[in-house]
């Protein structure tokens, strides 16, 4: 191999004033400008920013894999002292996969579906080090064991599709480690995974980093994750690094208005929708070819001073007194960084009224037949088991759970897209469990509406925004003629704080947050009483999330809407919900007010969920609970308690009861119920998962 005179006390990766542009047929689009960072051996560097800020482009530039439109237009990338930007393809081949390995977001897309796992793993050292197949196989088994997969022999002989998403991502990590690289680039490695699985993978990455001494470049939009994994981070905004430093410095003594705004817009423990609402960042992310002069964040910055901030390029300046802490702000010395944010006039707490929606023992089973012609064994998938709850007027009820927990089925049954197998759904005094949507009255249909998860999918791409809202009005029988409906549509745009001129726009001309607002306007077109919001903000960027959440709350207060907020993100759930319902494999395992659910006693699953959610606050300490194994399939649920296969508390229940019987719903306090066999004494001794140290 190439001999290098690299001194291990020098940075392993040194990016210096890197600029990258993409060349389209219209113009040159600068994706990254003047980006510098240093990764020391054994260090984990986080790259944080919203989508489109250029963080993935930096990673691809390190791999020299920018595609045919992308080009490095300035600066250097030094890996172990050698400049990657001038290397030939032949030299790069020795480095890629061997010395620098990359892990992508979608595990299934990184694995070859037609090749056995073992073969794919063995390939790496066989190509790079020329070792024998036997030796490679031995190393593959070892690495599979290292990424904590059960039964390595079986896994090595499996095809990718036979593994779950979490297992696949572990294999991708294993593959990256096969050649013992000195730098690992992780591009949102856990975004496609469930929270508890994510926690386990993050845990693994951290430990492996220590064990192999690998340096990491960890790309994420989630500040909480970066806090857990990295030593240092670099915050990016619109193609530029705006602040870089150690985790503690940046989290506790941030020196850039964007970093500050970002932290104020995410729901940390202590935020409250009425008393201490989130502060959304105003405006929108600038498009790459419409960046303002001077500071890119200028137009959205509350410290903006014209003539200073828009005068020209702004360099990174070191912060006095901190180690390698830099910020790209003209006014860094003038701003009082310790000042508390101006608290907006806290809104009055919404009145919670009478029961609007009541579900009693609702069950939804699907029959799935195997065999080619519908014959064969009939299997029953129990998507929802004895679902009972009440929702009141003006209340936010959060439904929390990971994929496969039955949230979506529940929404479908409520909306009438499917009918319940058993049980009762009452909307006011009307029975609707057996009424499919075609048979529902317009009043019922417009009364129960839904806001969807994916903003890029929620609007019909070939119809104008106005037309889509008017269509909803037509269907709900609002307005007597076109003129009235158009007027009402414009009012709805006002309601969701979009300019009226947006009525004539096509959805592709809108940003994700704006599309989601249109989706909300459409849901409220018929004066909905119950709105099911299916992860309405999870696909949006952090800075936009706060604004959309606020909007939902505001409309709820105005219309006294009952909001059923489906989410897996416990931070946002704690921030905005009045009551929380936790679901696992079709069962409601815990229900109670937000305070009750977020403090002990917990259901063991709730406890694990709380521990798994990353929190971007250095003052928070969490009890560390990592769930082993995967979520069982609803086709083949475990006997007894659904959670028993992953439960830490199982040993505390006498007589193996957990494996035999489904526990009953037990009332712990008024309005707080838990589905668990644990004795009362154990519940009483549970400790809180999250502790907030005094500031």
């Amino acid at each position: 191999m190439t001999a290098t005179n690299w001194d291990p006390s020098q940075p392993i990766l040194e990016i210096d004033h890197l600029s990258i542009s993409f060349f389209t047929r219209l113009r040159e689009i600068p994706a990254v400008m003047d980006f510098s960072c240093k990764v020391m051996p054994g260090e984990a560097m986080g790259l944080v920013g919203e989508s489109g800020c250029g963080k993935s482009t930096v990673a691809l530039a390190v791999m020299r894999d920018l595609g045919k439109n992308g080009r490095i237009v300035g600066g250097t990338i030094k890996f172990k002292g050698r400049d990657l930007t001038t290397m030939s393809d032949e030299e790069l081949r020795h480095i890629r996969g061997k010395e620098i390995a990359m892990i992508y977001q979608e595990p299934m897309a990184s694995l070859n579906p037609a090749m056995k796992i073992g073969k794919q793993l063995m390939e790496v050292p066989m190509i790079h080090e020329g070792i024998s197949a036997e030796e490679a196989r031995k190393r593959a088994l070892e690495v599979v064991r290292d990424v904590r997969l059960p039964d390595p022999e079986r896994i090595v002989n499996a095809f990718p599709h036979q593994l779950s998403g979490g297992q696949q991502q572990r294999i991708v990590i294993a593959m990256a480690l096969m050649s013992k690289p000195s730098l690992l680039i992780l591009d949102e490695p856990t975004t496609a995974l469930d929270v508890t699985v994510e926690a386990a993978v993050v845990d693994l990455v951290k430990d492996l980093g220590k064990k192999y001494g690998t340096s990491m470049l960890f790309i994420s939009h989630n500040l909480g994750l970066v806090l857990e994994v990295c030593n240092r981070l670099c915050v990016m905004y619109s193609g530029e690094a705006v602040e870089t430093g150690s985790i503690v410095d940046v989290f506790n003594k941030m020196q850039h208005p964007y970093t500050q705004a970002l932290f104020r817009s995410i729901p940390l423990p202590g935020a409250d929708k009425n008393a201490r609402p989130l502060v959304a960042i105003p405006g929108n992310f600038p498009l790459p070819h419409e960046r303002p002069k001077g500071c890119n964040f200028g137009p959205r910055c509350s410290y903006f001073q014209s003539g200073l901030c828009d005068a020209g390029d702004i360099p990174m300046v070191p912060i006095a007194g901190d180690e390698r802490h830099e910020s790209r702000c003209r006014r860094v010395d003038e701003i009082d960084w310790t000042a508390k944010p101006k608290v907006k006039q806290g809104a009055a707490r919404g009145e919670i009224g009478k029961v609007v929606l009541k579900m009693e023992d609702v069950k939804k089973y699907y029959e799935v037949s195997s065999g080619m012609f519908g014959g064969g064994l009939k299997k029953v998938v129990k998507a929802n088991e004895t679902l009972s709850f009440e929702a009141h007027e003006g209340e936010t009820l959060a439904i929390v759970g990971e994929s496969g927990c039955g949230k979506s089925t529940f929404a479908k049954v409520l909306m009438g897209l499917e009918t319940a197998t058993d049980g009762k759904i009452m909307l006011y005094d009307r029975d609707i469990q057996n009424t499919p949507i075609e048979k529902r009255t317009t009043e019922t249909v417009s009364g129960v509406q839904m806001v969807f998860q994916n903003p890029f999918d929620t609007l019909n791409p070939s119809m104008t925004v106005g037309r889509q809202i008017i269509r909803a009005l037509e269907i709900f029988g609002e307005g007597a003629n076109d003129a009235e409906r158009t007027a009402r549509m414009l009012e709805l745009l006002d309601l969701v704080k979009l300019p009226r001129s947006f009525a004539d726009r096509m959805p592709r001309q809108l940003s994700g947050g704006q599309k989601q607002r249109v989706g909300i306007a459409r849901a409220f077109a018929g004066g909905a009483k119950v709105v099911v919001a299916d992860e309405p903000v999870s696909a949006l960027d952090v800075s936009v999330q706060a604004a959309v959440t606020d909007l939902l709350m505001e409309i709820q207060r105005k219309n006294k809407t009952t909001l059923l907020f489906i989410s897996h993100d416990l931070s946002i759930v704690r921030y905005l919900s009045d009551r929380v319902m936790v679901m696992y494999l079709g069962h409601v395992v815990e229900i109670g007010t937000t305070d009750q659910v977020f403090s002990p006693p917990y259901h063991p699953y709730t406890e694990a969920l709380l521990s798994a959610v990353p929190i971007a606050d250095t003052h928070v300490t969490k009890r560390h609970i990592v769930l082993e194994g995967e979520i069982p399939s609803a086709m083949n649920p475990p006997p007894g308690c659904p959670f028993q296969t992953r439960c830490h508390w199982k040993s505390k229940v006498a007589g193996g009861l957990c494996e035999k019987e489904v526990p009953p719903m037990r009332k712990i306090a008024s309005g707080h119920e838990i589905k668990c066999h644990l004795p009362d004494a154990e519940f009483a001794n549970m400790e809180p998962v999250i502790a907030i140290a005094a500031e």
């Binding site: 999918d457 929620t458 119809m463 029988g477 459409r522």
Partner: protein, 395 residues
């Protein structure tokens, strides 16, 4: 004019042909100039002018479209009149009466090959896109519900589509034109069924969207039914045949039986493939959130299929449409080649290639000229489809 004219040399022939096509050149240049000037405002069509391949394809296609349009200006002679001395005449041979030349020679009956080729473009450009259009309407009208509802309906229709695709096409054509079968009125009955589908399609399209405003809906549907119904009846009804429902006075479209057969065959051959493409696209698009949103606000299935799903499937369908016009053109040629479909003296390219093939060794030009014309049109359509596909994928 001189009484005895000299035969033209190749250079002169070429120059004369280029000059004759002058209206086509002007129209082509105008189209390209306008399109390139405004390409940023023209959506997918405008993007086409960013792709060299797409532009070449478009130029070929538009060349033949404009040729069809200006055919009477370009043709030098009557397409049917035969001059005995001009049988298998060489290109550039002067006509005996001194009224001009046979630019690309004469065929075995002494007709002008050049003029017939130009006139043939008219038939091809008229029939191929129309017939493909019908095939699409049928395929879309059946593919949408098959993909959307799934289940037994889908299984049944997919099986039927496979069955039709497995049937030998040429045999089917022969069956359709057998006099015994024509006499039973089978092609006409097939036409009765096939041509009603576009009408149904239009009514569904309007009704599903405007049923919420009944006044407007009723008006539009009435117009469609009266005009479309009239066109439909007039299309299927033909005096003195099995299907003769409309009085002669009202029957404004006279579709000769053989053209009807061409339509029926093209629809029969293409609709199952279109059906499968549409079904596949629907299976993908119906999982999108905007479809769920439509379902949860209580939209009816046909609205979702026609207004939420179909417009978003247009990209692949437009590309396939271009390719399919190419296939249909070849199919027309094939039909003509077998002597099926159009009348023997029709100047369409397929029939002329067939007529010319017999004397290919002595006089190749009567077959070669329409063959090159056909090839360039199909090539153009394929390039156009490639360009469209490439550009619709880019952003």
């Amino acid at each position: 004019m001189e009484t005895a004219m000299e035969p033209l040399a190749w250079g002169a022939i070429l120059a004369t042909i280029l000059r004759l096509f002058l209206p086509v050149w002007i129209a082509l240049i105008a189209t390209f100039a306008l399109s390139i000037t405004f390409k940023r405002r023209l959506g997918l069509y405008g993007k086409l002018f960013d792709s060299t391949v797409g532009m070449i394809g478009f130029a070929f296609v538009m060349f033949w479209v404009f040729t069809a349009l200006f055919a009477p200006l370009i043709e030098t002679r009557d397409v049917l009149s035969q001059i005995a001395q001009m049988k298998n005449a060489l290109p550039g041979t002067p006509v005996p009466d001194g009224s001009g030349h046979y630019l690309l020679g004469g065929d075995n009956l002494g007709r002008d090959v050049f003029s017939r080729m130009v006139a043939g473009s008219r038939i091809v450009i008229q029939i191929a896109p129309m017939a493909t259009m019908f095939a699409f309407m049928v395929g879309v009208t059946l593919g949408l519900p098959a993909g959307y509802y799934g289940g037994l309906f889908d299984t049944g229709l997919s099986f039927l589509a496979n069955l039709v695709l497995a049937f030998p096409v040429i045999l089917l054509f022969y069956l359709l034109v057998t006099p015994e079968i024509v006499e039973t009125g089978l092609p006409q009955y097939l036409a009765v069924v096939l041509f009603v589908l576009p009408l149904l399609f239009l009514v569904l399209l309007v009704n599903s969207r405007y049923y919420v405003t009944p006044g407007f809906r009723n008006m539009v549907i009435a117009v469609i039914l009266v005009l479309g119904g009239w066109a439909y009846l007039s299309l299927v009804s033909e005096a003195d045949t099995k299907v003769s429902v409309l009085p002669q006075a009202l029957d404004f479209i006279h579709m000769p039986a053989n053209i009807l057969i061409v339509f029926v065959s093209v629809v029969f051959v293409n609709a199952p493939t279109v059906f499968r493409i549409v079904r596949g696209l629907v299976l993908d698009i119906k999982t999108r959130d905007y479809v769920s949103a439509a379902q949860t606000r209580g939209e009816r299935p046909w609205y979702i299929m026609l207004w939420e799903i179909l417009p978003n499937a247009r990209g692949p369908l437009i590309v396939d449409f271009c390719l399919r016009i190419g296939y249909t053109t070849i199919l027309l040629g094939t039909l003509g080649f077998f002597g099926l479909g159009l009348s023997p003296e029709s100047p369409d390219w397929g029939s002329t290639i067939n007529a010319g093939r017999k004397l290919l060794t002595i006089a190749p030009w009567p077959a070669l000229v329409p063959a090159i014309a056909l090839m360039s049109l199909v090539l153009g359509l394929n390039l156009l489809a490639d360009g469209l596909r490439e550009e619709s994928l880019k952003d």
